[in-house]
Chain length 235, copies 4
C-alpha cells in the first residue's frame, strides 16, 4: 500500500515506458489487492465457521458423553472434507490470481459470485452432517460444490481470455491443463449427484474422494510439466 | 508495510519535492491501509455470516427434509439479495477509496459508522427471511439499507469535497454521476418503504430489484463516459 | 510483502547507512505487519459479531412482531454503544501503531492480551442487552471495558518508553496528552461501576456517554496542539 | 502488492543478479503473502469465536444472575487458556514465516492442515467448558492441541529442511532450540492425556500450565542465545 500513498503518486498522471499516461486512480481501481483481501477473509471465515456446526449437547450426564461424541462422527467427517474442499478452492483462487495483474468490473463481480457459492458450503456441510443418509442432503451438498466449481472455472476462463489482465500469458499446454483441472471436479460432483439416486453411500464416498482425486490429478499435471518453475502453476 | 518499516524511514523528517517536511508518523496516521483492512474484514464477515441464518432444524424425519428446504426458500432469497446488496456496497467502498490517498479523523469515523449500518444487514435479512410477509420486517430491512446508502453517500461526498485527501481530483461530470449513483438506491429504498403500506409483495420486489437497477445505472454511466480508463470509475 | 520476498533480500545480511549489519529475519520478526493484521481481523469480528446477539424469536404471529422489536431496544442500544466503544479502541490502536516501527516479544504478547479483553466485549454487551437493569450486568460490562482500557494504556506506555521501537519520538507535551486520553476512560468506567450500587440507570448512562466524553476530550487536545500535522496524533 | 502490479512487472521475464530468468507468475505463486493473510484471518476468528461459547441463559430472574455467572467460571477459564494457547500458536507461526521467503505446494497444504487443527480448538474448549470434570473432555482437548502442536512441528521441520524457501539459513544451535521448543508442548500434552486416567484435576492443571511452561522455556532459550538480534528468533 505504502508506495501508492507516497507523495510521488499525488501527481495527476505519470508516464510509463509505454506511450500512454497512467491515471493513478484507474491503476488503483485495477489493483487486485482488495479483491484478494476480501476473498482471503471470506475463505478464513468459511473454513473456521464450519466447525461451529460441531456441537456437543449441554447438561448430558458424563456417562453419555462418549456416545454423544460418537453421534458427532458424521458431522466431523463432513467438516474435515468440507475444510479440504474449501482449501482446494482457496489454493485454486491463489493460483488464478497469481496470474492476475489487474481486475476489471466483470472480474470483481465474478469473484463475488464465487464467494457467494463458497459461503454456502458451511450450510450444506451442516445439513449433510445432520442427515448423512438423506439423498437430498447429499445432493444439496453436491449442487453447492458444483456451483462453486463452475464459478471457479468461469474465473479461470475469464482471466485466461483477457491477456490484458494477466502478468504474463500462460503457455497453451498449461492452459489446457488448467481447464482440465478446473473441469474435473465438476464432472465428479455431477456423477456423485446422479449416483445418489442409486446409493447414497456410494455418492457420499465419491463426493468425499474428490479432494484426493483432484490432488492426484494436479500431481500428475505437474509431473508432466517441463522441469522449470512453470511446473508450479497449480498447487 | 515493509517500505514504511525500513530503516530509511527512521529519520525524523523527510523532504519531498514540495516545501513542507513530512512527519513519518503523520504520514502513517493518514495512510488508508488499516481503514480498508478493517472494512474488508467487516465486509467478509457480513457476507459470510448472512448464511449462518440459513438453518435446517435437527432431528427431522428424512421424509420431511424436502419440506424443510421448501420453507427455507424466503431465507435463501433474502440471503442472496443481501449478499448482492452488501457486495454492491463493498464495490462502492473500493471505488471511493481508490480515490483516497490520505484519511483524517472525520473519514475514519464516518467509515466506522458506514460499517455499523453494514453490520446490521445480516440482522435485517434474518428477520425478513423469517417473516417475509410482514410489513414491519420489509420496512426494517428498507431502513437498514437506506441508512447504509446514506452513509455511503456521506463518505463519497466527504472525499469529493476534500481534494487534499484524494489521489487526483475527479472531473466534474464524473462527480455528478458519482452523486447520482450514490443517491439512486436511497430514493428506490425510500419508495419501497412507502410501498410496504400498500403491498408488501410490491415493496419486497422493488427492494430486491435495486441491485439490478443499480447495476444497469452503472453500466449506463460507464457507457456515457469518454473512452478512457476514467470510464472504470464505478464498478 | 513483495519487497521482502524479492531476490535481493536473500542475501544474508545487508548494510544500512548505520554501522550495524541488518539480519533480514530479525527485521521481519520486528515488523509490526502481522500484529496489526491480526488485530484488524479481531476488531472486524468483534464489531460484527456484536450484532449476532440481536435476534428476533422465530414463529411469532406477525401481530406481535412490533412488540418483539420493542423488546430488542436495550440490546440494540447496548450494541450501538459497544460498536462505538470498540471503534474507539481500534482508532486508539491505529494511533499507537502509527508510532511503532518495530515490535518485540513483550509488545506482541501485550497486544494479544489487549485483544483478549476486546474479544470479551460482545459477551458483556449481550449480557447487558439481556439484563439492562441488573447491577451485576452493568458492572460486568464496566469491568470488561476497564480491563481493555488498562491494556490500551499499557500498550501506549510500553511504546512511549521504548524509543527504539518508534518511528520518531513523540514530543513531551503530546505524550502527556496521550497518557491523559488513555487514562480518562478508566476513571470514568470505575466511577460508573461504583455508581451502579447507587443507581443502575445513572451508571448505565455514564458508561454509555464515555465515547462522547472521550471524543470531546480528543477534540480539545487536538485544538490545543500546535497548528502542524502533529495535531493529528489522536483520532 | 503494488510493486508487483506495476507496469514494469508485465515484462515476461526479468533477470536478477543470478543467472536464471525470473518468471513473475512463479514468483507470485511462491510469495507467502496470501498464506499468512489466510492464517491471520483464521487465527483472528478462532481467538474471537472462542468467546461465543460463553453464554448467559436468557430470561433468568435477576437474583439468580450472579449464580449463572458462577456456573460460567469453567467456561471462562477454558476460554482464557485456549486464547493463550492459540496465541502461542500464532506467535510460533509468525516466527516460522519470518524465515520463509517462498512457499511451495507442500508448505501451502501443510499450513492448511495446521489451520484445520487450530480451527478445532474452539470446539474442544467449549466441550471442556461444559464438562470440566469429564475425562473424555480433557482428553479430547489434549488430542486437539497435540495434533496442532505436531503440525506446528511439521511446519517448522519442513521449512528448516528446505533452505531454498528460507530468507537465510538458521544457525545450527538455533535450529536445535527451535525443535526443542516445538516438541516440548507435545510431550507435555501427551503426559496430560495420560494423567487424565489417574486424576482429571491434575491433567487439566498440567494442560493449562503449558503456556506458562512454554513461555519460561522460550525465555530460557533466548537468554542462552548470543547477545545479537538472533536472540529474537522465538517470541
Amino acid at each position: 500500500m505504502s508506495p501508492e500513498t507516497s507523495p510521488d503518486d499525488s501527481t495527476a498522471t505519470r508516464w510509463t515506458g509505454a506511450d500512454a499516461p497512467v491515471d493513478p486512480v484507474a491503476e488503483r481501481l485495477r489493483s487486485p489487492e482488495r479483491v484478494t483481501a476480501l476473498s482471503d477473509g471470506v475463505f478464513a471465515i468459511v473454513i473456521t465457521i464450519l466447525v461451529l456446526e460441531i456441537k456437543v449437547p449441554a447438561h448430558l450426564p458424563t456417562s453419555s458423553l462418549r456416545e454423544a461424541f460418537h453421534e458427532l462422527r458424521p458431522t466431523l467427517v463432513a467438516w474435515i472434507i468440507s475444510f479440504l474442499i474449501t482449501g482446494m478452492y482457496w489454493v485454486a483462487h491463489r493460483d488464478i490470481f497469481a496470474r492476475v495483474r489487474a481486475v476489471n468490473r466483470d472480474l470483481v463481480w465474478l469473484n463475488l459470485l464465487f464467494l457467494l457459492t463458497t459461503a454456502l458450503i458451511p450450510f450444506a456441510a451442516s445439513v449433510l452432517g445432520e442427515y448423512p443418509d438423506a439423498r437430498i442432503a447429499i445432493q444439496l451438498y453436491g449442487v453447492v460444490v458444483t456451483l462453486t466449481s463452475l464459478l471457479r472455472l468461469a474465473l479461470y476462463a475469464y482471466v485466461i481470455r483477457h491477456p490484458d489482465l494477466m502478468v504474463t500469458q500462460a503457455p497453451r499446454h498449461r492452459t489446457r491443463q488448467g481447464f482440465f483441472l478446473a473441469a474435473l471436479p465438476i464432472v465428479l460432483y455431477l456423477v456423485a449427484i446422479g449416483f445418489a439416486w442409486v446409493s447414497t453411500t456410494a455418492s457420499a464416498l465419491l463426493l468425499f474422494s474428490v479432494p484426493v482425486i483432484y490432488f492426484l490429478a494436479v500431481t500428475f499435471a505437474r509431473d508432466r510439466g517441463d522441469a522449470t518453475s512453470e511446473a508450479e502453476d497449480f498447487s
